[in-house]
């Protein structure tokens, strides 16, 4: 085979790979949507499950998902933004910042089952929260914290140094400079990170199932156990309860992720457009 032939073969393979990937994506999303959407009715979204989920709707799981996501973000967002501000504006590189970065990167690499284990050992048992929104939310907060820190840091670092100089020269303190000259510009980037983290919280199963439990009740307090959509989907599938409801729940999950991704992308494009001015 000469060079031209090799190239043709190689490029054909690569194109095949790329198209295959797109086909796979379409298949995965498509099958779930096609088989699941017909069952996604208003009653399904607002009703409560009956007969272990064979009948009825998934309202408690939607509420559970939202509750867990909110708790996780409420905890992780201020912590994450605060960390990012500290790392970018309040220190120069030192042993301490290197240690903090090591901690953040390592945390990002911990698999979700270990988070589930830890949450189970620490929040559920040691701190005696039981299977609860609180335990689940705290565990998820730790999972998404590195993402929020990373995106916030990136967003802050793209703010032009000139803004800081101007702000200082006009008599701002460091905190005033951060809040009036840096954060407003960094906000879209930060919010994108928060939205993506919410998506992560929605998709999580292993960490959630061992910290928030699997109870199908409507959540009433931070100490209520909840079942999220992802966990519900998992149980429906693995215990063979209802294929139809599983597909429907899966469809709702995918739609949620799609909406979250679209929202984040819209924000990113707005940021890019503004910067282009």
């Amino acid at each position: 085979m000469n060079a031209q032939q090799k190239q043709r073969f190689a490029f054909a393979s690569i194109w095949t790979a790329a198209m295959l990937t797109m086909v796979l994506l379409t298949l995965i999303v498509g099958i779930i949507m096609v088989r699941g959407l017909p069952s996604v009715t208003w009653e399904f979204l607002t009703g409560t499950p009956e007969d272990l989920g064979r009948e009825g709707g998934i309202l408690p799981t939607i509420l559970g998902t939202v509750a867990l996501g909110l708790v996780a973000l409420l905890i992780a967002t201020p912590l994450g933004i605060g960390s990012a501000i500290y790392l970018t504006e309040y220190t120069h590189t030192s042993r301490l910042t290197r240690a903090i970065r090591f901690g953040t990167e390592s945390l990002a690499g911990v698999p979700s089952i270990i988070f589930g284990l830890f949450g189970f050992i620490f929040f559920v048992n040691y701190l005696q929260m039981g299977w609860s929104i609180l335990a689940g939310g705290l565990t998820l907060a730790l999972m998404v914290l590195p993402t929020i820190i990373r995106t916030a840091e990136e967003a802050i670092m793209t703010v032009p140094q000139a803004y800081r100089d101007v702000s200082y020269s006009l008599g701002a303190t460091r905190w005033e400079m951060v809040t009036t000259a840096v954060l407003p510009s960094a906000l879209p980037g930060i919010v994108t990170g928060v939205i993506l983290s919410f998506g992560r919280a929605v998709s999580e199963t292993a960490a959630v199932i061992f910290t928030a439990g699997t109870a199908l009740n409507l959540p009433v307090s931070p100490f209520s156990p909840v079942r999220t959509m992802a966990v519900h989907f998992y149980i429906l599938a693995v215990e063979g309860i209802s294929l139809e409801k599983a597909y429907a729940t899966g469809a709702v999950l995918i739609i949620t992720i799609l909406l979250i991704n679209i929202g984040a992308n819209m924000l990113v494009n707005r940021v890019i457009a503004k910067r282009g001015k």
């Binding site: 000139a162 803004y163 101007v166 006009l170 008599g171 005033e176 001015k277």
Partner: protein, 251 residues
């Protein structure tokens, strides 16, 4: 010569890099002092030392003293934000903060907690007038400052600095990024401003220095080589290095 700022044996380094070396210089009140010289001569470092922005850089270290109105700016009792407000700074690149023209100008006032709308309006008009920008933007104060041209943004930067009612104005190559017309406007503005302010400018050319300066200082490699009034440094420099630079033998 009535001295506003006195620099005494001041040296500045960022880590291993020596920026200024034992500089002693008196800055006259209500006059324009031009600090000129080749690149990396320490001119920006000097400006940033006067409003204590130099210490924002990592591993900054300085010795010596700088006094304004007879008092050291490094004294522990000095409130940094207040000091910086007494000294206005304009940078080489025009910078419009990502907010409206109005908000840009009143930025420092809002930091100080001024909320009175009437007062803010008055300051906006006065500052933009002094910066010769008022007539061009008076109808669109609430639009984004990012839409202004480079020359307009630079004049906005000056208005923004003036709004804080400083006593000193430091300008680091303010017309370097501007077209000739904007440059002329700003130079004329400076001449009118010196009645109220002590002005230190790093000109972007010797010609500019000659046009605007009442006094001039030549900086080379972090040292102040020569200081003189009027055009003395340009037409009759005492030091050979000054002469070499002014006549273009290096630069």
């Amino acid at each position: 010569m009535d001295v506003k700022i006195e620099i005494r044996n001041y040296s500045l380094s960022y880590g291993q890099d020596r920026i200024l070396d034992d500089v002693t210089l008196s800055i006259p009140r209500n006059a324009v002092l031009a600090i000129f010289g080749p690149a990396a001569g320490g001119k920006s470092g000097l400006l940033r030392s006067i409003n204590r922005m130099a210490e924002l850089a990592p591993h900054e270290h300085h010795t010596g003293d700088i006094l304004m109105d007879g008092q050291s700016i490094f004294a522990p009792s000095v409130d940094l934000p207040t000091l910086r407000r007494r000294i206005g700074m304009v940078f080489a690149q025009p910078v419009a903060l990502p907010m409206s023209i109005y908000d840009n100008v009143v930025y420092s006032l809002k930091l100080m907690g001024v909320r009175d709308r009437k007062r803010l309006d008055e300051v906006v008009e006065r500052s933009l007038e002094a910066a010769t920008l008022w007539t061009e933007v008076r109808d669109r104060l609430n639009t984004s400052a990012l839409n202004l041209s480079g020359g307009q943004q630079q004049r906005l930067s000056i208005a923004r600095a003036l709004a804080a009612e400083p006593e000193v104005l430091l300008l680091d190559a303010p017309t370097a990024a501007l077209d000739p017309i904007s440059t002329v406007r700003i130079e004329e503005m400076l001449v009118s401003l010196k009645e109220k302010y002590t002005i230190v400018i790093v000109p972007h050319s010797i010609q500019q220095a000659a046009r605007v300066a009442d006094y001039a200082a030549f900086f080379l490699n972090g040292k102040c080589i020569e200081f003189g009034a009027g055009n003395q440094l340009f037409v009759a420099p005492q030091d050979k290095r000054t002469e070499d630079y002014v006549t273009g033998r290096f630069g």
